[in-house]
């Protein structure tokens, strides 16, 4: 009984989560206070990026500190195709994902000669190279950035097709698109985790020589793992670009596009499918609440919100380094069920 409820409870939690996630923006839409829809959008996009980062960082065990490079590649690819050639953003997203995968594979293969800290440092170096390219390359307008012309007066279907939501439905529309992309990412990464790739990635993480000894070409599989991460970041970049209606190098290459997803993954549970989702759900609202409460009023402008935010992250990391999902949730849930059941018996007696 306890065992079956333990196995059933994750599905119940998932179903409740999906329903709550789908309903969440609706009362906000009525009240007209769409700021919290935007917070929801940021939670979802960072959760999606975290789920993608988990593939290289969590399963393959390679610390990639610069996935925002692929976020930028996705954003720029779709924006250029839209501005110059009038491509649909969805086709642009496909192209952005493919560009991110292609460039990632080319750049990462030589880097996989390096291991551990050296690999991590080399990913940061790639980001440092990407910054001046983004700021000076005339084809993508350098530091002036690319503006995405706003398309107004479309119906619901037209807005979805052009990935442009304006006015009162802007936050609502992007929230649901991010929700859909997160669901798609979770499903695909789940398939990766369960399949041969997931086994090979974890084998390389745990012992690279041991993995090679049973026939796993470690460099190839590291490239595959990082390319999957790059694909997710590429898609995320496209979504962000159309949400912001502009692609600026300093914005899409911002360090936050790697630190927030990585922190969400570590806080929630690295190497666990739902870890980044839980982590983003905790971290992003805290950061928003901090900046709207501590960031305003008499203490404004002193960065108190960032300090408190940092302390909260350090506390979580110090108290539970393997992430919040690694706590014995199923045992607690079983204990709760048992306690309720015995309380009922006592009540009857």
């Amino acid at each position: 009984m306890a065992g079956s409820s333990g196995r059933r409870s994750p599905r119940v939690v998932l179903a409740v989560g999906v329903v709550l996630g789908l309903l969440y923006p609706i009362p906000l839409q009525w009240s007209g206070y769409t700021y919290f829809q935007t917070v929801g959008f940021l939670v979802l996009i960072n959760a999606m990026l975290g789920v993608g980062w988990n593939v290289i960082g969590g399963w393959a065990g390679q610390f990639d500190f610069a996935p925002q490079v692929f976020f930028a590649i996705g954003a720029y690819t779709a924006a250029i195709l839209f501005v110059h050639l009038g491509w649909s953003p969805w086709l642009g997203m496909l192209a952005g994902v493919l560009a991110a995968i292609g460039i990632c594979a080319l750049v990462t293969y030589p880097l996989t000669r390096l291991r551990g800290h050296y690999f991590a440092i080399s990913t940061v170096a790639i980001w440092m190279i990407a910054q001046p390219i983004g700021a000076t390359w005339e084809f993508i307008n350098g530091s002036r950035g690319l503006f995405i012309p706003m398309q107004t007066g479309q119906g619901v279907l037209g807005s979805i097709a052009s990935l442009q939501f304006v006015g009162r439905t802007k936050a609502l529309g992007y929230y649901y698109v991010a929700f859909g992309l997160l669901a798609l990412t979770l499903w695909l990464v789940h398939l990766v985790e369960r399949g041969r790739l997931g086994f090979y990635f974890r084998a390389i993480r745990d012992d690279q020589e041991g993995a090679e000894g049973i026939g796993i070409p470690s460099r190839l599989y590291k490239v595959i793992a990082r390319s999957i991460t790059a694909a997710v970041f590429g898609a995320g970049g496209v979504l962000y670009g159309f949400w912001a209606l502009a692609v600026f190098p300093e914005q899409v290459l911002d360090l936050n596009w790697s630190t927030l997803p990585i922190m969400a993954t570590v806080v929630g549970g690295i190497g666990r499918l739902w870890g980044p989702v839980l982590g983003a759900f905790i971290l992003i609202p805290i950061s928003q609440i901090m900046s709207t409460t501590l960031g305003t009023g008499p203490l404004a402008g002193r960065g108190i919100d960032l300090i408190v935010y940092g302390i909260i992250i350090v506390l979580i990391a110090a108290l539970r380094p393997t992430g919040i999902l690694s706590l014995p949730w199923s045992r607690w849930a079983r204990g709760l069920v048992r306690r309720r059941a015995s309380a009922r018996l006592v009540g009857r007696g």
């Binding site: 369960r194 000894g213 070409p217």
Partner: protein, 244 residues
Amino acid sequence: MATLLEVRSVTKRFGGLVANKEVSLAISAGEIVGLIGPNGAGKTTLFNCVTGYTHADAGRIVFAGADITRARPERVSGLGIARTWQLVRTFGRMTVLENVVCGALKRHARVGEARARALRLLEFTGLASREDVVAANLTLADKKRLEIARALATEPRLLLLDEAMSGLTPAETAAAVELVRRIHGELGLALCVVEHVMEVVMPLSQRVVVLDDGEKIAEGPPAEVVRNDAVIKAYLGEHYRGRR
């Protein structure tokens, strides 16, 4: 019997140190060869040359007709050589079953098939009851056993065991010897066994190769090798002389 592995005068240097000096060695299908010698004799270096973790500076290594002198480890594995390590290299954060599934995925791309194959190998190696244990939590004896199960999952024709029994209690050693005999007898694999415990390697091996200071100093049936003066001097010690 057909020659499976042929090592032809392999030399391997690390800077000024000559780890292997023109070592030649042949292993036939279905044979158990013991590889012995003092610490630093070049046994593990020879294993690393054969399995592609390092490459010989001179000489050739041929396995089942294929030149593997400069092959990468994953290609050597694909051709049918599997190995274990002196210091175990199990996948610590994965379960026992998952470790073996990783090995089986090379020949069975679908996880379901690889799992079925892995479960049979856990039965064979006596690890079935440990299936869900995380590998890092196993005893040393079980970690070594798991490494063997994972190596067998790649369906090799030759298995190289690098001190599979070092650090084990006498009872664990006896169980490990039994497992090696069954791998040879029931699965028909050729084995090359590096071992320091003479009581283990001598009765197990059909042929013994002795390395000292990077060079092969003797080769032959165990009974002959233990009477060889050079071997007694370099490795076994004078006390070994009248024991057999």
